[in-house]
Symmetry: C2
Subunit: 193 residues, 2 copies
DNA sequence: GGAGTAAGTGAATATTTACTAACATACTAA
DNA sequence: TTAGTATGTTAGTAAATATTCACTTACTCC
């Protein structure tokens, strides 16, 4: 499960290519060019193209998991909610070349194993967000008019669309600002009157 | 811009393949097999693969536009909101093989022209939903705590995610029921207390 | 100094891709 | 009847694909 520095370089190159030219552009040839090496050199570090994608998704899942794990637990649900998304937007602003991999679903159906890795990635986020929402509802800060699952769905959908829009705008607007704005809108909506 | 019956058959076959095997499965060979004729016969009806995808997206855009255009204008915003989504869910329940094409973004970045067709399709939906939301806000039925654009974003994101979930569940749950549920959740959230 | 290894190369592989050319047949209109 | 058009076929094409091969370097460790 551990990753060598060279493997990480390749993963980042793959992310860049995905962003620049989409799924169809992610070929071994392009990857080798980006790495400034021959195509066969890739196979010194990964045994297949699928392996590269899987490694990328797993790396991202680990990464997100770690980053979201150290949220100050003394915060209020509303503050946690904000902090959680702020952390997400901060990461992707720093590493926009991973947005396509995570949010575009473009990798879906490339292979069964990739599908599973993608779903796992999705679940990591749910794992962290869910308890925040529940706590907020229990404390009567967030609305109880709809269920936790329904709230989760609305929040996740809104977030996913936000990242999608950023990507098709070629990352040209400030995701931190419009992300914070989005978070504020949602909070306004789900907070108890 | 008009489409022959045979072209429509091909478009539907393409939708089926997209659903069954994803973007990478949509090849001329598979398309010909699905149509039960030779690969070259495809080129009697479309001049390129890209043309097929574009035709499919345009057909869908036209279709949605027409279906949403005859909404009874005497309805209340809330009723219109419900009717609009009900119509969408009804259509896709009848034609699930178009879900992948419309909601998965998998076609994104295949080509510039396809990108534009996809965005056009997205805008058709916005065109119809936007005035409903605005009317509801003006009449004080929907909340004015956040802007129309912010509301639109949340609704679109939630809807998109709903369709995405349906697809990765292999269309095995009742989209009408869970869609109605989703609409109800959103309405609860955006209605003025 | 020699053995082992990590990381590179260039050439070749079989397969798949979108697309084309040449030819066949049936229906339709003059 | 005959010319044209629509729609199909078989048999190709060149380019791109992921992967493998035998081989070279360069570095480390005993």
């Amino acid at each position: 499960m551990d990753i060598t520095p060279r493997q990480l370089e390749i993963i980042e190159a793959a992310g860049k290519i995905l962003t620049a030219s989409g799924v169809s552009g992610l070929t071994i040839k392009n990857l080798a060019k980006e790495m400034q090496f021959s195509e066969s050199a890739i196979y010194r570090h990964f045994k297949s193209k699928e392996d590269i994608i899987i490694a990328m998704l797993n790396y991202l899942a680990d990464n997100i998991d770690k980053r979201l794990a150290n949220l100050d637990s003394s915060l209020t649900p509303e503050e946690k909610f904000k902090a959680l998304f702020a952390e997400q937007f901060r990461f992707f602003k720093l590493n926009p070349h991973f947005v396509v991999a995570v949010f575009s679903d473009g990798l879906m159906e490339e292979s069964q194993v990739i599908n599973e890795a993608l779903l796992k990635l999705m679940n990591v986020k749910i794992k962290h967000l869910m308890p925040v929402i529940m706590e907020g509802q229990q404390k009567g800060i967030f609305t109880n008019a709809i269920t936790t699952d329904e709230l989760m769905h609305i929040i996740m959908g809104t977030f996913k669309l936000q990242m999608f829009k950023w990507r098709i705008a070629n990352f040209e607007f400030d995701i931190k600002r419009s992300g914070d704005n989005m978070v504020q809108s949602i909070l306004t909506l789900i907070k108890k009157a």
